[in-house]
Amino acid sequence: MSGSAASKLPPARESVFPTRQMLGQMKSKLKGAQTGHDLLKRKSEALTKRFREITRRIDEAKRKMGRVMQIAAFSLAEVTYAVGGDIGFQIQESAKSARFRVRTRQENVSGVLLPRFEAFQTDGNNDFQLTGLGKGGQQVQRCRETYARAVETLVELASLQTAFVILDEVIKVVNRRVNAIEYVIIPRTENTIKYIMSELDELDREEFYRLKKVSAKKERDAQVAEKERLDKADDARAAAEADRAVETKDVLGEGENEDVIF
């Protein structure tokens, strides 16, 4: 298509034969484009509304996360205080199987599938149940719960964020389409229609002129023919008379006849 050229020039038209059939097609196309534009616009608005809501919630959740993580970090400080030493290495080494996992589900928003993470804890495998057995065990367990809650918040935030990324993408696509329809397809179709119309009008006018011309010519021809016919009739009559005169003379004096010049 003539994409780049179209953007500079006033919207180009499609290369069609300006026929009445094409005009009908174009008109229905325009109508379709307008309906589509309206629908997409509405979709985009719905999505944007959702998007703004999500954005706001992300903003909130991120701030909340700051607090929650601080509390969690603080509970870890409590553990350090109670155990009286560093448990980091031991924790890292005894981690084996995730107890805390996420499940992903989908949610439909105006035809867009948004994922939703859902945290769940598997039962049974607890890698750290004996951590802090000698001292600090209670703090360790409490810290675990605090962190588990913090991670839940993080998971929630992650679903919001993923929704944000996907919605962002979808909205961009939809808006691109809306704009494409609004600024390219509709003007172009309109232009095409205008072109076809003017072309058809032109044809009409030409036809009319031609007809007029033809009839004028015909009339003139008719007049000429009439005149000729009349002239011919006069000539014939005169000739007949002359003929008659010559015949009588000829019969009388043969040799002294001169050439008759008309």
């Binding site: 954005t55 992300i58 903003d59 991120k62 701030r63 996360m65 700051g66 993580m69 601080q70 969690a72 970090a73 509970s75 870890l76 400080a77 448990i87 980091g88 924790i91 890292q92 981690a95 084996k96 199987s97 995730a98 107890r99 805390f100 996992r101 996420v102 499940r103 992903t104 989908q106 599938l113 994922p115 993470f117 804890q121 607890n126 890698d127 750290f128 360790v140 810290c143 675990r144 962190y147 588990a148 913090a150 991670v151 993080l154 998971v155 935030l157 992650a158 679903s159 964020q161 993923t162 944000f164 990324v165 996907i166 962002d168 993408e169």
Partner: protein
Amino acid sequence: MATTAAFKDRQFIAVIGDEDSVTGLLLAGVGHVTSPPDSQKNFLVVDQKTETSAIEHAFDRFTTERKDIAIVLINQHIADRIRHRVDTYTAAFPSVLEIPSKDHPYDPEKDSVLKRVRRLFGE
């Protein structure tokens, strides 16, 4: 866009963080080591000595190579060290989340997602 199959298997949370953050999150039970022989961990402890390339490598592994990770948690100050990577990462899965650490309180100004938010609303 992600298909159903792409995220059905994603169920782990990966962590790149300083020792305290990782310890805490592991305590919550996110830690997972895949079965031997390759036994891959889903967490990385970063300190001053950790090379930036190691962080990048871990980030790439969690975000692109491994297909079982749903969320990547990364400390903000560590994300700063590989900022360009984090900022250019736009895929929906896995979701990358910047989290505060004990010694580095959360700064919303630096967050790559919040930056996008602000850009969108022209603030």
